[in-house]
Assembly symmetry: D2
Homo-oligomer: 377 residues x 4
């Protein structure tokens, strides 16, 4: 493996234990009775030399995901109580819980033509990302936000929101939330909203009001004072993401800085109010890897979920390698090295690339000063 | 219960489920095969109306704790591998893990006369608090820090540290760390240091070098530039904490503001470099409740561990009430109302009070904008 | 005047002075000899009830400015030493110094076809704003940035920069800097760069490299780590500013929030890296006042310079009112009430508006907690 | 001079001017009529290669200052209007204005036994420093704060304050304010308070209430939420400053880090709420230079005022050197190199040192990213 740690790692895997005597057995019984546990028997698991993820690398295929979600579209109604027709990735290392990683939730959500998902709000920070289709509007605080292929819609905690499918086709998309993190830390609140949104909220504008206020590069409305946590910009449209990535690669071609490494352009979605991450607990990025390019292995504290947006190639997570193609989702656990190899084009004129959407819990690690990163360059 | 939520809470406990048909059973089988889990079956657990703690209120008695730790002192050597003779509180709601709360570790550590605990470092943020005894010095980055009743010693992650007992008596104290939080988020690194500290590090100064540089109120050394995460002040001596609390109560007696509520003085330990919490993930406070006073119930997101430092009284956590006295440790889970009733004095001249040391994961919640609090006043 | 202060203002204008006796005269002589000045004779000037600006309201007409700049174009060469063919507004209250306000410099700069202004850098923070014309590129750190009507180009201190006119017509624009502020506080550094920029730097791209990296709404390049003070986005193109203002007015027409007050849209230019002001000492804004609308009088600590970008109307500063039209520049001194009355359209279909570019020293006041504002609404 | 700039400084002193022709004279007349000034005639003054201070190095002797202040005590009453019996240093380079530097005011204030200075408030940030004497209490927001030799009392803008001399002797002290800065930027507000403070406010406690709440190292009162700009701690007592400096020198003697350079200990007064400077516009420090030690020359953007608190020696500012002793005040203008030579002791057992109090406008420079420093080490 090309990444070696800058620190001398030599912690205990299984420390020697004191000889078991009747007196020691008596002590252990006493501890158990008093709801006490010694460090010296647990330290190897609790304080490893480096993060050892229980979450494991895994890939979920888009065709299976979509097929099952469509099946649910036929069988499972959407309504108050169940709230959303969402189906979550359950990392095989996390005991069957619907947790893609120890901190992140990733699900496919599916809405039939004409269907509504009722209004509610929760402290869990959320976003939508659209790998295909269109026709659904998410109504956030009364503002209808269109959803189309390539669009990213962050939605910070405690905002009222509903979805409605205004089209004649079903539509699926990806939901990302910090449900596992808030579950584990025991933070969540949830509240029902109105069962039906108003007719005005069923309108289908090209741009949301949030985009009209906040979607102009480097400009903020003077009328807005204090801004709640999370981005006030509710949609990051594909055309801008695509153009930003193309610009980086064009700069590289002209001999200027731009991409993060040769043939690998990347942007972070940011809050225009403060330039920071779009959500307090979730970072979102988009990566474009030019055909034939292999990225440098990176490992970081914290976990990521990726979705292939376009192109195909192979990805390596720890010691696992998969071929991936449009819509596939996979998980990179904490401190596992990750690299991407974009498939070479079949002809010289084939200008496609491997496009990857990514979200991570990096803001948690950075806010608490727990972030570490190693790059094998 | 005197606390009522300002928000209308009405989320699902157990949402209605679609009728089980062969087709639905087929769908559920398909989901299981593909490592997928629907939201509509899990939402009641994952997205409750308000935090429902798995961690439960519980009290650990100091005499039992100390007795078992002393027993371990006789039976279990301290050394490389096991690292520390520490015995952790295991919240009965958390599956037998040595986790006082979902995010916090609390343990009694015990060192026999002349014993050393070997040097190591870890990313877990830690502190010591001393409810009784003296004679141990914690050596942090080569700086010997004395430990005596009432002293609080924060120690941010990745600092080398060792302990040595320079006295002729055993000594016990409390360790607090964010081990569960870093375990769950998969953040931890650990490294062994030297097996033996130097003779100079075995010295037993009255004040650590960190106190001599950083322990003067409102003054910082000009010689120190960038400061690492966590407090550069390695000891908060009892005399200052005691005096600050006495000052608040005296101000109250003179008719001026000071305490948080009548008869309830409190201080937060802060980082003199930036005025923020002493550790990135842990807040520490000291509370003094005058005899006969009952505090207003408070509930907050996030969990706390308390230790009674002096006095006695009753504490109520959720629907549980205990009598507590010196050394007792107890847990307040997320969003459970908490109040204290300090025992009335037996004579008019009895000026004792109920003194409580507290630590919490509040910095995590505040950094990620997940903090909520309700006070019944 | 419709603005009344929320505070009871009653400070001394000319405090009573002690009777002049020979002893007092002797004291005053002694003070003078020792380079000392008593407070009691100066307090009325130094510590007024509210800011009393020495800078006065004044308007400079674009036709005169342009005519004189063009005359200088014929007579005064541009080159090393003089550095720039820039002509600065000299507020009549500021003793003939080229200071538009006590903190801000505003000048017209003029470049003949084919001319270059040589490279240099300085700690003074600067920007360009273009009210008419095109054809000049400002080369900042080797990156050619086009300049066209409506474009705003911030340029933080200590960046190398040059200008070259690639067109067959002269071009004029406005320079804004914090020269007076840095002069008064004795902060400035200055250094010559190359006498000639390279051929590559003489290219005339549609977009600068900075725009290609940083000009996408809500997206930042992952490749850029630490960012120097001031915006990394070197041009804010007119099309985005215009659209943002139009969007606010359209939102208002649809019944939604958007403008700062009825018929008055406004944006602030911000640093996409942190959402803060584009320059550490200078704020820049653009205001659009719909025909026939009169804005609420506002007064603030700190001073502003405005340029009319389009339309016409009257502006009132303190007790002075002027008619203004395209290109006119005027000054609003500290704490003087300011309002705008956009000229009514002559026909119903006349949809023009009064468009105003503004820059101020507000970031200085906010950073030092000296900002106050009153609005008469 | 031992300091050389890291940047190649080569700006214009007096740039070549275009030949004076009738046409050019006509242009200059036109500019003057229109209140315009060309850059090319002014650039040498406005944009120098490095800061060239108009303020000059100067020393004021304590015996003269005190003598004149005492004379004023006999001749000039203190009361409403004149407000304070304060006599300010007037830098000879600043046109006779009572400005010690372009941004800082420094004055001796004098109060006769039993005298009061009436209550007022102003936006100017202020502090008191006591080089000798005692007996005056400053009443800030109703809180009487004692003043004694060595005490430093910050007082952020817009706090009500009065002084009363409760002793049988006159007392003098130093006032520092940002009057020149707020004068130049046109920021100040001022308001009269009560003519007489209450009897309770005439009490003479050993410690102010602010010290009892905020004066404990690393501890903050839980009862205080939002804190206004500037330090909530209203007095920094000499005993703590003295001990912090002694600790640094003792650490050095033991072979550990502590002082800023050999034999030169220094502390910064900080706001315990956020660890930052005590006032938004003013930094305050205390320096102790051991007998016989010469400090490394330093130059910085921004200006300082020093007062000798104890000891004697020589100080060098730019090309000027003075002998100084207790109470003497002197000025270090922007970017002028400064060093101190503490007088050697006459006997081996003479352990005195040169103690210097310092205040500067550094927070202004740092907030606006204009700070630069060079040290000749």
């Amino acid at each position: 493996m090309p990444i070696t740690s800058p620190v001398r790692l030599q912690a205990v895997e299984a420390p020697d234990q004191p000889d078991v005597t009747p007196a020691l057995e008596d002590l252990y019984r006493g501890l158990e009775q008093e709801l006490l546990v010694p460090l010296w028997t647990e330290i190897g698991d609790l304080m490893p030399a480096h993060p050892r993820s229980r979450g494991v690398p895994h890939v979920w295929r888009w065709d299976s995901l979509y097929r099952l979600a469509a099946q649910a579209g036929d069988l499972v109604p959407v309504g108050r109580g169940g709230e959303r027709r969402a189906i979550a990735l359950a990392n095989p290392g996390l005991g069957g819980r619907p947790f893609a990683t120890p901190t992140l939730w990733a699900a496919i959500q599916f809405l039939m033509p004409g269907e509504d998902a009722p209004e509610h709000r929760h402290t869990q920070h959320a976003f939508r990302f659209v790998v295909e289709g269109e026709g659904v509007w998410t109504v956030v605080g009364g503002d209808p936000v269109p959803m189309r292929r390539g669009d990213f819609l962050p939605q910070a905690g405690w905002n009222w929101h509903a979805h409605h499918n205004a089209a004649s086709e079903p539509m699926a998309w990806i939901d990302g939330l910090d449900i596992p993190f808030q579950y584990v830390t025991e933070a969540p609140f949830f509240e029902f909203g109105r069962d039906q949104i108003s007719d005005a909220e069923r309108s289908t504008p090209e741009r949301s009001r949030s985009e009209r206020l906040w979607g102009h590069p480097g400009l903020r409305p003077l009328s807005v004072g204090e801004v709640a946590p999370g981005s006030p910009l509710l949609a990051y449209k594909w055309e801008f993401t695509d153009r930003a990535l193309a610009d980086q690669l064009a700069l590289e071609a002209e001999g200027y800085p731009g991409p993060v490494e040769p043939g690998h352009a990347a942007v972070r979605y940011t809050n225009p109010h403060d330039g920071r991450d779009v959500l307090p607990t979730i970072r979102a990025e988009f990566h474009r890897v030019v055909r034939g390019v292999e990225t440098a292995p990176v490992r970081e504290t914290g976990s990521s979920v990726y979705q292939v947006f376009d192109g195909s190639g192979t990805v390596t997570v720890g010691e696992t390698t998969w071929s991936v193609t449009r819509g596939d989702l996979f998980v990179v656990p904490s401190w596992q090295p990750f690299s991407v190899h974009s498939e070479a084009g079949t002809t010289d004129s084939d200008s496609g690339a491997l496009d990857l959407f990514r979200f991570t819990d990096a803001p948690v690690f950075e806010a608490l000063r727990l972030d570490r990163q190693e790059v094998a360059r």
